[in-house]
Symmetry: C2
Subunit: 305 residues, 2 copies
């Protein structure tokens, strides 16, 4: 296999994970979670979201969390930003990076953002320009890049259309999201073949949910195609409120197991990640979905016998 | 991706799954389970095991189950056979195929079979000769082909040594088992590269457990290397009694989702498999581990709201 030697994991658990959990984590616990994540070797943490609390009440404490976390140098602390009002608050809370977002699928975009794809571009552009004027790096998320809960399979051309626009706005990178977790490696290959005809692999990160169990297969295919940045969430947190049955992001610790065993360097310590995942289990009051944590629980219960 | 157009799933749930479940399924329920599986489009079902009930009490009713199931033509009904005494009983119960088994790892073989690898060969050869004399096809399992709970990583040479012997005995195919579910695609590639230097891909089936979440990644790599036969267990049943934390076989329905979406033909109906998995959940009194069944449960609970 032709594989990269180093990859970067971008931790989205505190944002993409917690925003979809029914239990609302206390602000102090979120702060402690981010601080634990800062000790794992991760160099990117998406801490929270500035989407209006009416839509995401779980993350209404975005400012408080960003102000209370202990920041480590060499770690980028990012937040999701829907519009200029959100950007303003995020800049006051001193984010390192702004993430803008929209969908490749017209109907998912409409349901999620209440605008057509075309109407969304200028809103994102305002945020991109504003963030860059403030000296911040900008990341663009494209959701539903393979499947949409309303439209089914999404053609690579639909993704290209949005990627072109975001890269015209000069975002630093695009995270391609299989938001409802339906993709398989043949589809990932087809999508990336189209995108990589036009842009270098460094422009993209892959963001997989594990609804159907295929996330790691898609990550291996992406790796083989030269992608070196992957979003994941501690404990496989999250889901998608608009897609029934959707489970969470691919779990950071499951991705880490795969990379460690394949000899691909991440700079992340498994034990530190498992410690943070154990903290999340305690605070959410339920077992998380990852395979590595299932083993941890099993070993602990064995010791208790 | 260069992929085969057709693959065969070999259902091992009634044997490799149920032998490791704490809840002992009633004989009539096992019969009903096999009968449900016979309606899915599967053409291979490993029904039970003739290992002594002292070791596997869950499958003490091997003869009764084999005698009560409704056999469909075009389906091979197989059983695991440890020795000549087991073969004798299995032939009386009219099995279609005999599976013999041993480990690539010396210490796992010792723990599982209470013999060295070298001592095991003549025991297997007796069974192979006896089964073939009775006109039965024989399958050979090699366990711990990537990792061993006692020895760690297993070199391909250790697997080759056992494969050479089994193929000298003229078994029809060998199922290569990542018994404790620790493997990753680079290791699968390394193993298969060695084996396929010497033997055609048709001689091998892959048997993955999903302990670490890597089973489907290993299956995609195997597919890319020309393997077209895969063992799986309905609902991801099973585990390994000698490997703490080990979860079950890769789930038939998760494998089927992957193949269906990749456009690889299996001849198996997803809905029929989900029906059989629902039956298993009811009889074991717990949710099974597959991603597809998690979605089914989620959708049902949504409907009930």
């Amino acid at each position: 296999m032709h594989l990269p030697k180093h990859v970067t994991l971008k931790e989205v658990g505190p944002r993409d994970g917690l925003q979809n959990e029914k239990v609302h984590m206390a602000t102090a616990d979120k702060v402690q979670l981010v601080d634990l994540l800062s000790q794992t070797g991760l160099n990117y943490i998406e801490v929270t979201s500035f989407v209006h609390p009416k839509w995401i009440p779980q993350l209404a404490d975005a400012v408080e969390v960003l102000q209370a976390i202990k920041r480590e140098k060499d770690i980028t602390y990012a937040a999701l930003i829907p519009n200029l009002r959100g950007l303003e608050r995020a800049l006051q809370a001193n984010i390192d990076e702004a993430s803008v977002f929209m969908s490749a699928s017209e109907s998912h975009n409409q349901n999620n953002i209440n605008k057509t794809v075309t109407e969304t571009f200028p809103v994102l552009e305002e945020v991109v320009l504003g963030a860059k004027a403030a000296g911040k790096r900008v990341r663009g998320y494209i959701s539903t890049v393979i499947g949409c809960p309303y439209e089914g399979y999404i053609q690579p051309e639909q993704v290209l259309r949005v990627a072109d626009k975001l890269l015209e706005m000069d975002v630093a990178e695009i995270s391609l999201g299989d938001t409802i977790g339906v993709g398989v490696p043949t589809q990932v290959e087809r999508l990336l073949e189209e995108l990589l005809k036009r842009y270098p692999a460094e422009k993209f990160a892959m963001h997989f949910h594990d609804t159907r169990g295929t996330a790691l297969t898609n990550i291996v295919k992406s790796l083989e195609m030269g992608i070196t940045k992957f979003d994941s969430a501690l404990g496989g947190l999250g889901g998608c409120p608009y897609a029934k049955g959707a489970s969470g992001n691919v779990a950071t610790e499951d991705l880490l197991y795969l990379f460690d065993e394949m000899g691909i360097h991440t700079g992340i310590e498994m034990n530190a990640v498992l410690e943070a995942a154990t903290f999340v289990e305690k605070k959410l009051g339920k077992p998380v979905a990852s395979k590595q944590m299932a083993i941890v629980r099993n070993e602990r219960s064995g010791q208790a016998l």
